[in-house]
Symmetry: C6
Subunit: 273 residues, 6 copies
């Protein structure tokens, strides 16, 4: 497995967001970005999808416009709507329309949660047409150069009732992100939480042990994110075991039996204070 | 099976869209178009329905107005609505109304997804009346010469709950599109992706192998569209096997077992680098 | 079975719509119309319900106002609503209200699809009161002489969840329309499609053969309408078998087995070219 | 069983509506009306509930305001709403509020179909308070003398999901209406349809025969209303058997077997022409 | 069981509402009222919950603001909303907000029928905070002294789907009301209906007999309210048995068998005329 | 188990809210607050979650903005909306937006009841971004220093249909609150209700006995809150057993058998008067 670090940004003075590559996600994203192909990011909660998109946007020097999908989101939330100003209705661009006009990367986070009209509205943007018809205005916008669609998706979540339509999926290049190797994850946790490498390694070991459990009792495994949250509590002076109890054990389950079992696992994996 | 290429456009200077006919779809569409009969395009995702309509509109020198159906679409999205301007409500034609006034082809993509009032509104347009009643305006428009309805439909998708009403279906001439022959598909993939014929042939061979699988594990087979997407990544320098992984394998399934099986199929079908 | 042709219109110079009576529908409609009794037209898709109402309206010299029912239709779509004009709300009559004021025939096509408030709103119009209360205006209109309600209904369609309420049904005189005899249907298809009698007879023979099938595989039988559509493609130069494939076989089903069986039936029934 | 005829109206010059009492409905209504108690009319479709209320309103010299309940009716449809006029919102009384102000009889037809807020809104009007709180205006109206609530209800219809709440029912005096005796019904049919007594008696005999059938095949029995409709077609010159076919047989069912059985019953009961 | 009568109102000249206490409801309400604790009234339909609250409000000299809950009620119906006046949106207090400002008793009748947002909105009013946050105005009101919440609830009604949330219930002091003793109920019926004690005693005996039935056939038992309604018809001259038929028997059921059984029970319990 | 009392507030003159710590909730909250990490409070109804947040806000000298979640709450209720003022639409911040601007603690009570868009809207606030995108304004706010999200959650309540999404949960530090020890709870009840320690101890003993029951018959155990409510009735002069009946027994169940059993438990546990 190759581990790339990102190239320094060519055109911007701001520091590159911290991202450590896990597989071939960087090369694949670069190829898709050069072609303008839309990208579908697949991966579990808290594995770094948002960070990865921030890093790629920085590398390409493009603005990043992020929209969090939810089940009440409609196409108007993406495209725009009329507002009443001074007795006139004036049009207000939605985030997708702004990205289309400005050539930005539009990142639709967990788009599958949204109502279907939000996925259909991206169809003509996601094929050879690269167009956004805005029916309410009676116009069709051509996407500016640099515009790219990125959508995220958590396969562990999706039910049969809520999955991307095939006619939507087959317009995307899919990139699967997973959790990093132990060394990379230790590096990330120590840096993000502001703790020493040894403590970070303990947290990563606990994360790996939880990920190795038969998953049936947990809805989802321990993410890098919750290891960083636990590390942060330690950095503020809380004991490691207490931090793990609040940021890992109690977060992963409400079931007293599961909480007890996770606690015993933490006792076994973490160093004695 | 006859393979037609399209006649050059009679009246327009713009280049004809690239379309390679697969069966008798071109003759049938021409007969229906001359008569003004509505057309129902049936076929799987990514087989070229949109391209076909673009090519036919070019041949007949008619404007093409495309509307993507979705489950929240209402008849007002097709017909139009009142907007508030300067304290007055002013009427704004919807895309269907514009097509009726201008004699354009109105292409309703996946109309079956829309709410039923959107299909009922086309009934008087789709029989001998060729009329669009606009209740909100209290008027009835007669369709201009050249107006034609085209709707698309993916039979593999439709559930019992969501299918076209019989009283709607029996107003249309149905044209079924499938995937092209290997030679035609190789030609299309090479041209669209910008890759050499040999690589395109490998991708088409993989597509055929996937289409030959017992389909129970896949929601839908590999479309020409995803073969073009994979080819595009190759054209940007990604390795063929990596491109196939992102644009074909990971797109077709989220199931780890299916992904592994598709990967092995790709290893077997694609040439060693 | 008596076959009436319509009497020439008494007061209008426009040609009478082409309609060939099948049973006693004409006498019954005349009696109901003279009395002002509402009429419920029952019959399958494409058997000519709309044509029949057009012909009767022409005979009685009354305006015909048609409204297509759909599941999102509300009583406001029938009765009217307030619109904002120049800072004032102004009332806009709906099609039912216009018919009540003008003494027209109001034809509610597939009214059972509409929401229940649309059927309740016609109750006082459909009994001895002949009144339309418009709650939003606080007024009650008496129907002008000549006003008549006609609603259509496809019994083959209706589920238990969607059927006319008994308190609605028992206000109507029911007229059942079926498909015409072979001679009449041949006459209709030849005239409407613009083809010779022999080809029309072949299409009618195919329609009869399909109607004679055990219906379990088809949602609905072949209507006169699709025979006319097939004939129209022939009139434009398409071969008879190809026209039947597009306008009949592919329209009646999406199931490959049913499509093959219908195709074999067409091969057997139609003359060899 | 006592049969009352209504007393002549005390104060009005308009003719009393034609109503023939069937049981004790008149005395009971009078007692409830004198006390101002709300009345719940129970009975099948077309048995004369509306006529009965019209007659009672006439007898007491009170205005009758009728509202037809439906499943989309809200309390605002009864109580009133704000409309925009000249840039101001102005309040428009609903029919219930008008009845409360004017001391009229408010007849809510099939109120059980309405949404529950419409039944709750009548609670304070239907007990010792006789008040209508209008939350939108922040006021509470006391009902004018003479105000009385009458609601109708068809017990044969109601499902468990849609029935009156007990806390609503127990505020009403219930009056059950049924079909009249043969002599009374013959009188009603002859008078309303404008036919001779002998034909009316035949129709009534058919109605009685249908009401005597094991009801499992019919949603509801033949009402007096459809006998009058059939008689009306006869008065316009249609044959008795044809009139019965359209106004009775085809109205009562869509099931071919039931239609045939009803037709045979009609052949047996009606006199040969 | 102690039977209190209410103390004369301290500060008001209007007569105290007639209420006869059944258990300890009066002492308990007084203790809760002095403390400002919210009260949950439990009891069957028509047992006098509204009367009881009226009497307590009178005793404490507080205004009583009553709101009837229904399933379409939203928090805006309680708290208030913006209305458009003269081109401005102006805020209109809802009944709960008025009670909070004025220190009134706010009686939410059958609040469990309302949408959940209406119960959540009362949470900060129903604990130590005694606050009403009005998000639309961006303010939080402190309840004026004397403000008290009273909600009613019919345990016999509630399904699992519709019950008060535990986090709501545990903010209330619960007072259960039942039917009064025979003597008290006779007194109430005679006084309210305006009939002699002997007739009232007969009605109360019938009510007790019905309440003693195995309840499975009835949705709810006979309330004091319907006994009063029956008495009222007698006071207007209707026979006792006929009054019972309309106000009790036909109200309690639509089932012919149950109606017959209740009628036989009435024949047995009531005195012969 | 350590029992902390809160440190006196550093910067404010108002008295600290009364809160007695039960476990490590105070240290954990302090660590999370210093870091700005969002906190998820888990615990049963009435155990003191609101009090705890009030105490922590006081300690840190931050404003506390509380929002009660309910199932009709939308993201606009949190973020803000446009209102019409003087013919202009003006933006009104919602409570979350105010907290973000002012650096307050935003406490979302029972957020899981809200619609999913309300939880998604907090995602960018609950990770390293600390941003609130307001799509309607086209802006993104950075949270002011001191801003902290706190959400509460009752694990005993949640169904599979209504639980926090994993991608939401894993952004929070979870703190579980339970009921305090008997000594602490006695102290709390005596102080809050204004009763002597002996009576408070009796109520706490009853609460413990109820919590020790096999829970299947109760939806939730007796909270500290209802013990305080019972104590309050005693402080107003009601007998202890009567106060327990209204504030504990009748509140915990509507089932006559359960009410009787709880009453017998109260008879056994409480001292004889």
């Amino acid at each position: 497995m190759t581990v790339d670090s990102l190239r320094p940004p060519a055109e911007s003075g701001s520091p590159a967001p911290f991202y450590r590559a896990v597989g071939k996600e960087v090369e694949t994203f670069r190829a898709a970005a050069r072609r303008g192909s839309p990208v579908l990011l697949k991966g579990p909660t808290g594995c770094g999808k948002t960070r990865f998109v921030e890093a790629m946007a920085h590398e390409f020097g493009r603005e990043l416009i992020t929209v969090a999908g939810h089940e009440d989101m409609t196409s108007a939330d993406l495209v725009g709507r009329f507002l009443l100003k001074g007795g006139e209705t004036v049009w207000a661009d939605g985030p997708l329309t702004r990205a289309v006009r400005e050539g930005a990367i539009c990142y639709l986070d967990e788009i599958v949660e949204a109502r279907q009209d939000t996925t259909v509205v991206i169809h003509p943007l996601a094929d050879h047409r690269r167009e956004l018809p805005i029916d309410r205005l009676g116009i069709t916008l051509s996407a500016a150069p640099g515009f790219q669609l990125v959508v995220s998706y958590n396969p562990g979540y999706q039910s049969i009732l809520k999955s991307l339509k095939e006619s939507t999926r087959q317009r995307f290049v899919a990139i699967t992100l997973g959790f990093p190797t132990a060394d990379v994850e230790t590096d990330v946790v120590a840096r993000e939480a502001g703790i020493d490498e040894s403590t970070a390694r303990s947290l990563v070991a606990l994360g790996a042990a939880i990920r190795g459990l038969d998953g049936s009792a947990l809805n989802e495994v321990a993410s890098t994110r919750i290891l960083i949250l636990a590390g942060g509590l330690v950095a503020e002076g809380l004991g490691l075991r207490d931090a793990v109890q609040s940021a890992v054990v109690e977060v992963l389950s409400d079931d007293p039996d599961v909480i007890r079992a996770l606690g015993e696992l933490a006792d076994a994996v973490l160093p004695r204070p």
